[in-house]
């Protein structure tokens, strides 16, 4: 990845569905090695923003670039640079977690299956079919699939929901490691306490508009805005 370019660039992005404006002129930059907490109340536009960041939804106006690649015209190329865990991850139900991760390694062309499974912490369960997994185990499998190829941008939509504390801690530590290696991470969440330990910056949106873009040291101020 070219070091001159930000990992993620969002410039005056608007998303409308009919008369409803889900995102209203949002702009921010994410540099390599940054860990962004994207926060906001329910219906703030976080998921719409995440979908646009992963190329699953096109902005009505404005520009989104991933490492300099415009998502509107190059969504398929940009996907190779993004590891993404949606709020409700979909996996092949009749594969085992190991087979799922092996498949992702094949289509991404690189990755260490065992290291990814270690992050997931599934142990012997990685050889059971995913259909038998709990919600938490599915989420851990999806996290491992997103991180296995060490993409330069990780986008996680409420990805820690449903994880038990040891698993959440292990995943956060793996995310920190990825960040120190230069990955840019965007974690959408409404649990602000999680961000205190890991994030470098907080972006808060409400009603589709930017309410705050502050270093994590300003978390208390952001918490005040959240409570308002």
């Amino acid at each position: 990845m070219n070091e001159q370019k930000p990992a993620v660039m969002v410039d005056d992005v608007v998303k409308k569905f009919g008369r409803v404006k889900a995102v209203n002129g949002l702009s921010f930059l994410v540099q390599p090695g940054e860990f962004i907490g994207l926060v906001g109340p329910n219906g703030a536009g976080k998921s719409t923003m995440i979908k646009m960041l992963t190329g699953q939804l096109l902005p009505t106006s404005g520009t989104i670039q991933i490492a300099g690649i415009d998502l509107t015209s190059g969504a398929d190329r940009a996907r190779g640079l993004i590891g993404y865990v949606p709020e409700e991850p979909s996996l092949y139900e009749y594969l085992t977690a190991r087979e799922m991760i092996e498949f992702v390694v094949r289509i991404r062309g690189k990755g260490d299956v065992d290291a990814a499974l270690e992050i997931a912490g599934l142990g012997d369960d990685s050889n059971r079919i995913i259909q038998e997994y709990s919600q938490g185990m599915r989420r851990k499998t999806a996290l491992a699939a997103a991180m296995v190829a060490q993409p330069p941008v990780l986008i996680l939509d409420e990805a820690l929901n449903g994880l038990d504390p040891p698993s959440a801690s292990r995943v956060l530590s793996a995310l920190q490691q990825a960040r120190t290696k230069g990955a840019a991470i965007i974690l959408s969440t409404h649990v602000l306490d999680t961000l205190e330990k890991v994030a470098t910056r907080i972006i808060m949106i409400r009603g589709g508009s930017l309410l705050a873009d502050a270093p994590v040291s300003d978390l208390d101020r952001v918490r005040g805005l959240f409570d308002d």
Binding site: Y94, I107, R108
Partner: protein
């Protein structure tokens, strides 16, 4: 390197419990064949092939075209489901995709899962061969199988082109004209299966006319058999390139459509669901109607189209018109009353338990939705028969209502016991029902 998507599909196929599923529809066709013979192959009684070759060839051409069109319709819908709304898309949306390789794997899976369709047609045409004209039987099967191949390839090509047209500014005026109450981009997807059927239908028309001509001695007609597979090959050559350009964009298209509906829901949702006024104090019926209208809208709309076709079939003083209506409208009614299986496949299994709604109430609601949607087929043709033939309309209408009721009950029972896999039980049962009714009244 082998295609990774094909390898995953092979692994999933080995683990999913569906091995016998493809055999059931063919076995059902074997049982249905003698029942449906009087309605489908009435031309056989006009005279032995050779003695009245023109009557035989005309009847044979008509039935081969219709069977080919039914197979092509099914393939048009299946290619839409597999390519656009299939189970692979949400999994692969998180990763980079080699769309060309993926679409090849999807096409292979669709072909494998739907290979029984031309075999059903072959079984239904079998009496033609048994009564001595094996050349015609082989020719007819070549038309249907060619149409099946053609629909598979044309289906993928046209659905990918539909994604392009949804985003193309040059199509926005046309899509606005066609979309009705739907979001503009959805119009491209709604009409794509119809476009597939139209293109393949033209090829089938030519091929079946060619076989008919060949049976009467015009040997050039055999070459017409190459039209559907030839069109299929040409389409297939374009598919990998179209996939590279438009497969990924379909996700954005679907998000756009779903988002547009969500925005509508916030304002005047209640006025936008077909027949929802019938669901007063019946929350499970309202849910089924909303799910049906928003997720499976293509089915009631196809029902209206079939009703329109049946109206023309019934708009006649010919005493045989009532029989024709039963054959055409009966098939459409039974296609629609399979909707409960599709409704159940989208409902989370835990939901009704959590809400405390008895499964039987949900099953009745799904059955009612199927029966209500079937009225779009039944009422127009009964109206036509009523105007042109009087009392016959009551008899035909009554038979179609009974068929819709039984079909809805079977569909609901299949959905209740088999959930998302209910179609594998319902499909063969519906084929038998249709063959029985068409054979008696057609």
């Amino acid at each position: 390197m082998l295609n990774p998507y094909r390898e995953v599909h092979a692994l999933l196929r080995r683990r999913q419990p569906r091995r016998m599923a493809v055999v059931w529809p063919i076995l059902a066709a074997v049982v249905a064949m003698p029942l449906a013979k009087p309605a489908l192959l009435g031309f056989l009684s006009l005279g032995a092939p050779g003695s009245d070759s023109a009557a035989f060839a005309a009847g044979f051409e008509a039935i081969v075209f219709r069977l080919g069109a039914v197979v092509a319709s099914a393939m048009a819908l299946h290619t839409y489901t597999d390519l656009v709304r299939g189970p692979d898309r949400p999994v692969l949306d998180c990763h980079p995709v080699d769309a060309g390789a993926l679409v090849k794997a999807l096409a292979l899976r669709t072909a494998r899962q739907r290979v029984y369709l031309p075999f059903i047609a072959a079984v239904l045409l079998l009496p033609v061969g048994i009564e001595g004209n094996w050349v015609a039987w082989i020719g007819g099967n070549a038309v249907v199988f060619g149409g099946w191949c053609c629909a598979l390839a044309v289906g993928y090509a046209i659905h990918l082109l539909a994604v392009w047209s949804a985003f193309s500014p040059s199509f926005s005026a046309v899509l606005d004209l066609l979309r009705g109450p739907n979001p503009r981009m959805q119009a491209a997807l709604i009409y794509a299966p119809g476009a597939v059927l139209f293109v393949v239908g033209v090829a089938l028309l030519l091929a079946s006319a060619g076989v008919s001509g060949a049976l009467q001695g015009w040997s050039v007609g055999w070459w017409f058999l190459l039209i559907p597979p030839g069109l299929g090959v040409i389409s297939w050559l374009c598919v990998p390139r179209l996939a590279d350009r438009h497969y990924v964009a379909a996700t954005a298209l679907l998000s756009e459509v779903d988002g547009a509906w969500a925005a509508v829901d916030e304002t005047d949702e209640a006025h936008r669901v077909y027949l929802d006024w019938l669901a007063t104090n019946r929350p499970e019926l309202l849910r089924a109607l909303r799910n049906g209208w928003r997720r499976l809208r293509m089915w009631p709309m196809l029902g209206w189209l079939a009703g329109f076709v049946a109206l023309f079939a019934g708009w006649s003083d010919d005493p045989a018109a009532g029989g024709r209506v039963v054959v055409v409208a009966g098939a459409a009614v039974l296609a629609i009353t399979g909707i409960p299986c599709q409704l159940s496949s989208g409902d989370p299994p835990w939901l009704d338990r959590a809400l405390g709604i008895a499964p039987s109430r949900v099953a009745v609601a799904r059955g009612m939705v199927a029966w209500l949607y079937a009225q779009g087929v039944i009422l127009p043709c009964v109206f036509a028969l009523c105007v042109r033939q009087g009392f016959v309309a009551v008899y035909v209408g009554g038979m179609l209502e009974v068929l819709a009721f039984v079909g809805a009950c079977v569909g609901s029972a299949a959905a209740l016991t088999q959930r998302g896999r209910g179609m594998w039980m319902y499909g063969p049962a519906a084929l038998l029902l249709w063959a029985f009714v068409a054979g008696r009244l057609g």
